[in-house]
């Protein structure tokens, strides 16, 4: 595939993903949240009872679909392979703090774009923080930062997370007593499209993202590193499509205040996404990309996924997650600690590589 074809493919994919994200809100998902990897992992963790925030408990079929869509297409394209072993514990910690950053902002990079498309200008502040965070990550990448290489793992390793997703789907459908659901009117967890719509949307977006390597972090990173706009075009196409759907169905409400599932504290919106962008740049991809890579058999991304999930549970069990009322004091401490930890990871893994190079 030539570079031009790659660009066209990613623009089309971005338009389709934006369209699907906009329509998922029409189908029942929370406002400006057709997709949100951070929120949906948080809801899923709540559905499993790993946190007790009653407003956000629902096993989201979009997450299941994303992972399985990538898994199925990578199998068809002979691109599935069990690989890993690149600093898994560090990746878990990075995933954990990326989630803390996202839940301060109230959304992953994907939702950040959807919030902008819905007229939530607080997300522009988040975007500024996100871009600065990626810039910080690129600073270290250019100086030799590395989590070391991956190696081929046992074949079974690459199939475990897709299998877990099928179990999650069964738990959602069969709804045994130990699976938690936010009651109707009880919060964002109660707002969702029908299971088959959410699952279908996830499968399509997962396959498109696998085919095009769609990544919210990769777009900005590649532009800073190589002045390459390919992934950035996908990012823009998604924004345009979601904006068009919002405009068409009356879901575009420009402003800073009164935005759905958002707060207007600019400093902490900025710092939350700074942390998310910095952590994601060091991980090599946004939360959605981690799900896609997990579907392809990457066990490091699977560990990152688990880190994101642990971060979500921790954030709600210990009141770190922000809400429409704004950030909590615990959340502010969490973000500051996260920035320090991510900086230490960046410095140590840059300095140790430089020593190895000399």
């Amino acid at each position: 595939m030539s570079l031009e074809r790659e660009k066209i493919a990613i623009i089309i994919a971005g338009l389709i993903i934006g369209l699907i994200a906009g329509l998922l809100v029409v189908a029942g998902n929370p406002a400006n949240m057709g997709f949100c990897i951070a929120c949906f992992i948080r809801d899923t963790v709540g559905g499993l009872g790993l946190h007790r925030a009653g407003a956000v408990q629902y096993i989201r079929p979009e997450i299941i679909g994303l992972l399985l869509g990538s898994f199925i297409l990578s199998l068809i394209r002979h691109e599935h392979g069990s690989r890993g072993g690149s600093s898994p514990v560090t990746r878990f910690i990075l995933g954990f703090f990326v989630m803390i950053g996202c839940l301060m902002f109230l959304g992953c990079p994907f939702r950040m774009i959807l919030r902008i498309a819905g007229g939530d200008w607080n997300a522009l502040v988040g975007l500024a923080g996100f871009a600065c965070g990626i810039g910080a990550g690129v600073f270290f990448l250019n100086r030799g930062y590395s989590l070391k290489r991956t190696y081929t793992q046992t074949k079974l390793d690459g199939f475990i997370m897709p299998a877990v997703q099928i179990i999650m789907l069964l738990l959602l459908i069969l709804a045994p007593a130990f699976i938690l659901f936010t009651p109707a009117g009880g919060g964002p967890g109660a707002k969702h499209a029908a299971v088959w719509i959410s699952l279908g949307a996830g499968l399509i977006v997962g396959a498109l993202a696998q085919y095009t390597r769609f990544c919210m972090v990769g777009g900005i990173r590649d532009f800073i590193l190589f002045r390459e706009t390919k992934l950035l075009l996908g990012f823009i196409a998604l924004l345009v499509a979601a904006f068009a759907v919002n405009l068409a169905v009356g879901n575009f409400h420009p402003g800073f205040t009164g935005q759905p599932i958002a707060h207007a504290d600019g400093l902490w919106n900025f710092l939350g996404m700074l942390l998310a962008g910095f952590g994601c740049a060091l991980l090599g991809g946004c939360p959605m990309r981690q799900l896609i890579l997990t579907g392809e058999g990457n066990t490091d991304s699977a560990v990152t996924f688990l880190g994101l999930a642990a971060g979500a549970a921790f954030a709600h069990n210990f009141a770190l997650a922000a809400s429409g009322n704004g950030p909590t004091m615990n959340g502010k401490y969490g973000v500051i600690i996260g920035l320090i930890v991510v900086l230490i990871i960046a410095v140590v893994n840059t300095y140790s590589q430089k020593k190895a190079m000399n």
């Binding site: 990578s74 691109e79 070391k148 290489r149």
Partner: protein
Amino acid sequence: MYYVALFYSHFGAIRFINSLPENITEKRMMPVPRSLSASCGTCVRFEGPHDLTFTIDESHEVEQIVKETKDGYIAVFKSE
């Protein structure tokens, strides 16, 4: 003749491009072409002799090296 080298990390690409002989002036880092890999990492595209051989990778950072031809890519080195 142009070649594209793929790596397990961005660090591997930096190390590789710095290790290329000075007489190779056509060299640059860029995103990995989709047709070469599902990975979204960094590769190095460089000009080299027609008969380039590459058998030992002491850094263990090089995933593969391919030669660009008008019919597509031909592998000249692959780890594992």
